[in-house]
């Protein structure tokens, strides 16, 4: 078996500082690209998807007088969209985290808290609906509790990019409360798209740093 002497660049020439600098840059970028749970292109794609879905809802309800919200037929599509989005996020996180062990991985308690936050958000919507306030009037309410929960969980880990993503989702939810029921769908679409594109830019910058 032939061994390449380990002081060479692999082609028999000496490994120069220029080659080392280029290799160091490339290896660092490549490793970060493979280890980052949310690749920029995935976040950007999810941003475009969420924009398309919520703007489609906004277009379908903006002509309603009086406002009644999305039809019952639209709800399964919205839910399927949320599930697809969540599956994408979880799938890429699992792929990036394969073989990685240690404190950066989410602990079971943190996963349970994040899941409970979604359950609490849905329970709140159900309670509001029982009190006569349909989610159709406050569609972005569902984002506030999970967004804030994620921001707090990430703050405890000093993961500032995670804090950004949680806080931006919560802010979109809160701003949507200030809009009209029709406008809230547009706020949700544009706001979440902007948040995801911002996250994509942050991750791209981290990979290049």
């Amino acid at each position: 078996m032939n061994h390449t002497p380990d002081t060479t660049a692999g082609n028999g020439d000496a490994f120069t500082p220029q080659q080392a600098a280029a290799l160091l840059d490339e290896a660092t970028w490549e490793a970060r690209r493979k280890l980052v749970p949310n690749p920029p292109w995935v976040l950007a794609s999810r941003g475009v998807l969420v924009l398309a879905a919520l703007v489609a809802v906004w277009l379908s309800v903006r002509g309603e007088h009086p406002y009644t919200g999305p039809t019952d037929a639209d709800i399964p599509i919205l839910i399927a969209f949320i599930v697809l989005n969540a599956a994408l996020a979880v799938g890429f996180r699992r792929r990036a985290g394969a073989g990685v062990r240690g404190p950066s991985r989410l602990r079971p308690a943190e996963i349970a808290i994040a899941t409970l936050a979604w359950v609490a958000a849905v329970a709140l919507l159900v309670a509001l609906a029982a009190a006569g306030l349909s989610y159709r009037l406050y569609p972005t309410t569902v984002l506030i509790i999970p967004g804030l929960t994620w921001a707090v969980l990430m703050m405890l880990r000093k993961n500032w990019r995670g804090v950004y993503s949680g806080a931006s989702v919560a802010v979109v939810g809160a701003v949507g409360l200030l809009a009209s029921p029709t406008g809230a769908w547009l706020v949700g679409g544009v706001g979440l798209c902007a948040a995801l594109l911002g996250g994509a830019a942050l991750n791209a910058r981290y990979q290049r740093a």
């Binding site: 002081t7 990685v100 062990r101 240690g102 404190p103 950066s104």
Partner: protein, 100 residues
């Protein structure tokens, strides 16, 4: 500054790739041998040789765990290894000026 200012243990293409890859992990995290092998694109035997050299210098630490009958090896950059990579990067910067 002469080239010999560069840490000879890191100034080897394969080991530079290994160290740079492990440095991309958050501090305290470890990477499994198989994932590292997959990321670097080396044969197991070749990777073991380089990891052994880095471990002898205390640049990396490895731990073996058992999952049933399967033995798993996880590796991580030590604090000493991280500092060595920092020093190496600074030495490269000094050598290359603004080109890095």
């Amino acid at each position: 500054m002469p080239d010999d200012a560069l840490d000879p243990l890191i100034h080897v293409p394969t080991r530079l790739k290994i160290v740079a890859t492990l440095a991309a992990l958050p501090e305290g995290d470890t990477l499994s041998f198989t994932r590292l092998q997959d990321m670097i694109g080396l044969t197991p035997g070749n990777l073991i040789i380089h990891l052994r050299k880095l471990e002898e210098a205390d640049y990396i630490a490895s731990e073996k765990t058992r999952n049933g009958t399967v033995s798993l090896t996880n590796v991580a950059l030590t604090g000493h290894g991280r500092k060595a990579l920092d020093n190496y990067t600074h030495a490269l910067r000094d050598l290359l000026g603004d080109h890095l």
